[in-house]
Amino acid sequence: MLTDTFTMACDQTPVVLAAFDAEQVSRILKSLGQNLLTPIPLCFLLGIICTRIHGGIKIPKELYLSIAIFLLMSIGFIGGHELAHEYQAHGVTTIWKPALVTLLLGCVTPITSFVVLRYLGGLSIADSAGIAAHYGSTSAVTYAVANSFVEQTGHAANSYLPTLVTILECPGIAIALVIGAALSARERAERAAAAGRPVKESKLGEALYEVITGQSIMLMAGLLLIGFISTIFMPEKGLEPFLEFFKSKGMLFRGVLCIFLLEMGLVAGEKLSDLLKVGPFLVAFGILMPLIHGFAGVYLGHLAGLNLGGCTVFGAIVSSASYIAAPPAVRLTLPEANPTLSITAALAITFPFNIAFGIPIYFEMAKWVGAT
């Protein structure tokens, strides 16, 4: 039976390969090359190599945290500025559909992740919900890298994408944590009764409050609002120095993004040793789930009216997994979940996959669905 299936698959391989003509293959390879051989992913790679060979690069924690603040402020401010222009030109007609799609995907992706992990992967409720919280949320750095990629290819994304990043940050974490807390409540009550102790108070509310009022949301949403207000009320000339400082095409943004990616590479390099611990299922999940979510993002983004660059970046943010906001929230709410699984999947599998291969793949997917 298995041999038959294998023979059939082998027979069909040339047909599948024939579907990609030489031009398409060379286009995909060109996209990969355009993305991979640029300073941002190469800095990430340098970080990984440095950790693996016990090299001497040390990024001080304070510098990393300062850069994170700058990147979040920059994404928010420029996003608010562009959103104001969009609003002045078209009102809310262009943005309500993408915003609704973002909210929908923010609610669906944690559920699909949970179902796959729990019922296909056989992981515990807490581990499934914990990992689903990471994959339901998004990674602002993946956004920044995807945005740099589409700008380099000359297909800048729609101006309101940072607004969508902000919308996508919270619901995924909230939904996955609520699922996890609700389903594991009975298990906890049984365990506490067996041990003759009172049931521990859930920290769900506290964790959700921390996500919503956490640094990522406060800085991105806050600066989005500041950028929006100041664009509307301030003369263009007065706004110029701020735009110059924060702009994503600027040398400051691109430069510090390289330092940030170097740091992420150093951390991902450490986490690579954990790949053996998490097992093949989670490795496959960390690659295939982003592709599925990414395609859903690209396709629905296209239907909602995003352009080629917009669909690519949207696919990247929907597929990406949070590794800054989600881990502490999951740790507080679902303490029995093993953080090695979720952080390794998000940071050592999905993040590098997206940076190296995912973004160009979403770019090709966007072209394939007809985005222009």
Binding site: G47, T51, K58, I59, P60, K61, E62, Y64, L65, R197, K200, K203, E263, L266, V267, E270, D274, Y323, I324, P327, P328, V330, R331, L332, P335, E336, N338, P339, T340, I343, L347
Partner: protein, 105 residues
């Protein structure tokens, strides 16, 4: 110079829980606390969720308290945190100046 015999409760654990522990200790009767970033390694170090390559991912909390409060704090930590979090706590004897400040009135 008068020294008061009191207890020093020291808790070292993953950063995500330490502020909660400190606040809960105050509710249990501690008059204050110190939180200090520390570096090191323990049997469950991998459980840290702060994604950074260098610097501290672990925090040490210290409370100077009378014995009855110290016992309450240790009991609370062992019940609520030991099972799932990377965390250790110990008790030492200390001689404290102006110790009357640490004794609940």
């Amino acid at each position: 110079m008068q020294l008061y015999p009191l207890k020093l409760v020291t808790v070292v654990g993953e950063s995500v829980i330490m502020e909660d522990i400190a606040k809960e200790a105050v509710k249990l009767g501690a008059s204050g606390y110190s939180l200090i970033d520390v570096t090191g390694q323990g049997s469950r170090s991998a459980r840290n969720v702060l994604v950074v390559s260098s610097g501290s991912k672990t925090v040490k909390a210290e409370f100077v308290v009378p014995i009855d409060i110290a016992e309450k704090i240790l009991e609370h930590i062992s019940h609520d945190y030991f099972e799932h979090y990377a965390c250790i706590a110990w008790l030492s004897d200390v001689q404290v100046l102006r110790g009357e400040r640490y004794i609940a009135k």
